[in-house]
Symmetry: C2
Amino acid sequence: MKSLRKRVTIQDVADRASVGVGTVSRVLNGHPKVSDNTRQRIEAAIAELEYHPHFAARHMRTANSQTFGFITDQIATTPFAVKLIQGAQDTAFQNDMLLLIINTEGNPALEAEAIRLMLERHVEGIIYATMYPRIVDLPAAVHQMPTMLLDCMTADRRLPSVVPDEAGGGFCATETLIKHGHERIAFINLREDSIAAEGRLRGYRAALSQYDLPIGNRYLRHGNDWADSGYQYAYELMQLDAPPTAIFCGTDRIAMGVYDALKEMKLCVPDDVSVIGFDNQEVIAAYLRPPLSTMEVPYYEMGRFAVDYLLAGNSEYNRDPVQKKMRCPFIERESVMDIGLA
Amino acid sequence: MKSLRKRVTIQDVADRASVGVGTVSRVLNGHPKVSDNTRQRIEAAIAELEYHPHFAARHMRTANSQTFGFITDQIATTPFAVKLIQGAQDTAFQNDMLLLIINTEGNPALEAEAIRLMLERHVEGIIYATMYPRIVDLPAAVHQMPTMLLDCMTADRRLPSVVPDEAGGGFCATETLIKHGHERIAFINLREDSIAAEGRLRGYRAALSQYDLPIGNRYLRHGNDWADSGYQYAYELMQLDAPPTAIFCGTDRIAMGVYDALKEMKLCVPDDVSVIGFDNQEVIAAYLRPPLSTMEVPYYEMGRFAVDYLLAGNSEYNRDPVQKKMRCPFIERESVMDIGLA
DNA sequence: CTGTTAGCGCATTCAT
DNA sequence: ATGAATGCGCTAACAG
């Protein structure tokens, strides 16, 4: 089956085509000044020998590893990670770069080790991704090469970063509800101590304020990101004197719990209560009944942006580092209705 | 910030420590015959110079890339991919190997390109993972290096593979229901034309048969993997003359639809109907009301197994290739009840 | 247009 | 125990 045939080198190709190695190298690298005749002979030899250039040798010679490092903390726990990685990987691949991925589970020792390995392999840059937006503290070694933060930022903002525009998403969701005539709009947010929660809340309040709606905490709750808090707070909210006519949820999972509670209360979505989620977690949002309108976090695009930035900024990557906020688009499904149209 | 200081080589370290490069190389590789004195001087020099060995150079010299390739088709569409990758990556990392990940979206051209790149980089082996179990046809080039199939297999079984034990899972779920006293057990399976569906059905039938229960198609349905088919068939099944007392679902998403339908029919899980899912898709299974008992597909372990196999079998990887089936454990939550105990 | 040559940084002989 | 020399496969610089 597998022939353990000796490695085929550029020299073998050169011999086979009766030329010098330099000429072979030229056709390998698409150099123009090669006669058609020799080029064809060489290409034939390459095909016959099934020759593949040895990447490490080329790398050593050209000092170009054509590789980015991708470090993540606790990638395991979230399905969104896939899109982040895919956006980065696709973009890298299109530019003849490959991704070396290491998952550190947030373990600082592994993290340092990961960076060391990437230094050794001379990656052209590092993407450091977290699974939810937060402030990170990275080993100083990252400053030795271009580094881009995905879904996180350093306290001093010295590293470029790309994060979702949480506030924009919160604003858009709230404004959408307002434009559908809602005035009593509840918000079951994420856990209070997160950047995402803070941003979404800011957007929620900004929208209410802009449309001259009262901004109180009467309709505001902080959950735990999961379905059970949506369930619990939906009950609580609907028992208020003037219950909300719409509920904006910090995650689709929260919305899932809200749906359950509403159903138990014999309340109908969207006829009785409109609901908007956050995340566009396919498996939930698309299959809830009715399908959930929600804000999408553009993970794929964020991954793409990170690689594009690294690709572009090689020379001046540490001056004026971008702090990009990506817009979260609204995904319309069937959980929002004009008030009074029920 | 970033000093563009010249690359530090082993020669620099040697000079700094007033020794030859050979000696430095020896301490780098933990060679025994070095006097304590020199070793310490060298280690000091390494630290002071912040020297890192150049991986490509070492690779070229030792012909050891310490890298595995990980190729996936359409990784994007499924959250399970993360666990597969993580299992592989963690295991690789523990053995000083890194993973080069390429996602081909099932595009044959990209696939060939991916394999070519990995050949160039001299990966020690390739893991080819699909997002659901199926028969694959790979470029012949994979036979040039150790290759392991994850969640798929070739028609001729010439490549080692690891897949979930679908039939075992189907058997276990059905048997669990039977042991809880159920006799009319419905099965809303996946789409009919998949390996997973075929295996799970086989297990379902085997269990019924083993416990002398009738095997008909009366309680059998083939859905489309998603919640809507669960919803539809649950209605259909519960309107039968002798409706099932338990429903085994081909995916947790199907179970999600079943829950919805059951609730609309004012039927209670598990008091009126017991339900078991498949996949243990955290976001669904753990947060449905009541939490869903389900079969877990051991993706993490599958990823680990693949790397372990590659790590172990370097010499004889193509003789008697394993076709490993991984047991799917039952995850007990609250959707199953003894019949009659309601 | 093409052949020859000199390293890239390292691990490994072979001497010593 | 250690230094010097060799070559891994390749690209680029230099001759022709």
